[in-house]
């Protein structure tokens, strides 16, 4: 009974994507990186929901939208352990995990003020040189950036 009530907090989805286990503090960054604000379909955003695993979590239910893997990989830097449930006709037909891509373009800011990317109107580009520890290298100034120093644009 308790479970049912909790489920009812968020409307069921006929077709679309449910993104679960988003760290609460990253939820709105995830919304922005996925371009959710530009969608025309109904979106439910759950914030600070109780989670056994995470304490507090965020959840996104997006109707009528199925993400390509490289779209979804954009959020891997800030929410590496999210799960995607692909819903068709009220059923979960597929579960997807995010993967850190080999290259990250236009999401991260280079921490070097003398880097060309901070001085020209251009996209940033980073190679992921260590997927396990999440270390990036700027394609331009070659600065290595560790996970804890990563800043999003």
């Amino acid at each position: 009974m308790e479970n049912n009530k909790r489920e009812l907090q968020i409307a069921a989805l006929e077709n679309g994507t449910v993104i679960d286990h988003i760290p609460s503090e990253q939820l709105f960054k995830v919304v922005s990186l996925l371009g959710v604000e530009n969608l025309k379909t109904p979106v439910t955003i759950g914030y600070n929901l109780d989670s056994k695993k995470m304490g507090k979590k965020g959840i996104l239910k997006i109707a009528g939208k199925f993400f390509e893997q490289d779209e979804i990989n954009r959020i891997s830097l800030i929410a590496p352990s999210v799960k995607l449930n692909i819903i068709r006709d009220y059923e979960v037909v597929e579960k997807k995990l995010v993967h850190l891509p080999d290259e990250i373009s236009g999401i991260v800011k280079c921490n070097n003020p003398k880097c060309i990317t901070n001085n020209e109107p251009m996209r940033t580009r980073f190679q992921v040189i260590d997927k396990e520890n999440v270390t990036l290298r700027c394609e331009y100034c070659e600065l290595k950036i560790k996970k804890e120093d990563i800043l999003l644009l």
């Binding site: 070097n112 003398k114 880097c115 060309i116 990317t117 001085n119 020209e120 109107p121 251009m122 700027c138 394609e139 331009y140 100034c141 070659e142 600065l143 290595k144």
Partner: protein
């Protein structure tokens, strides 16, 4: 190596480096060739560097090419706020080759992305100065007859000295044994120690500049300890006269030892070293023209 640009030492394979060494060697034997006849080379120096610019322009002239360009961005549209992209696009309409120096790091890599005209990086901020590395490598190659299995000792500012960092990367293909001598404050950065560990390159670090280390070396690479690098000027006063090479320190050194320095020097090599046949820094600068001729001919696929 993508033949169309020369941006970073890290892009070069062992074969690329050896090919450039052989080319430099052949340009040294015969520096005046007409392989750039009819070609226009632009030297875009957004930041002044007389030594590097003259060396590149000499290389182009000796190969029969024509030079256009500027030696100071203050006289160009970039001082009016033009983006690098627009300047590069504009010059690409005129020139067959762009040799550029810029104060921003990554500028040359970006330029290489926005134009089909070959780009040579003549220095991008504190990041890369790969033609300096080529002339350093050529100087090692020429004086030792090989690049493999050498003991290379680097002295001075190992923290900020980009020539030091690039030489480590360039030499890494050739099983070097490095020795680093620097004050604590100017020690080699972690990422280069990691780089050597990843490549299984042996190295030792010292604070004392001793004859014992010099005597084991094949190459002694001196750099300048600059006052402006120190946060604590007391520290600078303590070390400024410690990392100075004097002729008497070379008495027991190996016969094949050669002393390199990217120049300009201030006081880190005493003048009495200049007459020692092991002093090689002036010839090293001369090698810059041959190394740059090799780079130019390689990116343009001529000669």
């Amino acid at each position: 190596m993508n033949k169309n640009f020369f941006v970073s030492v890290a892009d070069l394979s062992k074969d690329d480096i050896l090919r450039l060494m052989r080319k430099a060697e052949s340009f040294e034997k015969e520096p005046n060739r007409n392989i750039l006849a009819g070609k226009v080379c632009a030297t875009l120096f957004f930041e002044p560097s007389t030594r590097t610019r003259l060396s590149f322009e000499t290389a182009v002239n000796r190969l029969g090419g024509k030079v256009i360009g500027f030696s100071d961005a203050a006289t160009t549209s970039s001082s009016k706020g033009e983006t690098l992209k627009d300047t590069i696009k504009m010059v690409s309409n005129y020139a067959d080759l762009i040799i550029m120096r810029h104060h921003l790091e990554g500028a040359a890599r970006y330029a290489a992305e926005i134009t089909d005209v070959p780009i040579i990086n003549a220095g991008d901020g504190a990041n890369q100065h790969p033609s300096q590395t080529m002339l350093d490598l050529y100087s090692v190659y020429k004086t030792q007859g090989r690049l493999e299995n050498l003991v290379i000792t680097m002295v001075g500012d190992l923290k900020y000295g980009r020539t030091v960092h690039s030489l480590i990367v360039g030499m890494s293909h050739f099983k070097p044994h490095f020795k680093f001598i620097a004050p604590e404050e100017l020690r080699l950065p972690d990422i280069y120690r990691q780089f050597m560990d990843e490549h299984n390159l042996p190295y030792e670090e010292y604070v004392d500049f001793s004859e014992e280390v010099i005597n084991q070396s094949d190459i002694l690479y001196m750099t300048r300890v600059q006052r402006e690098r120190f946060t604590d000027l007391m520290e600078y006063e303590k070390v400024k006269n410690v990392y100075i090479l004097k002729n008497c320190m070379l008495a027991e050194s190996k016969p094949n030892l050669r002393i390199l320095h990217p120049l300009p020097r201030v006081n880190e090599i005493a003048y009495d070293v200049d007459d020692n046949p092991k002093a090689y820094y002036f010839e090293q600068a001369k090698n810059g023209v041959y190394a740059r001729q090799a780079i130019i001919s390689d990116v343009l696929g001529v000669g």
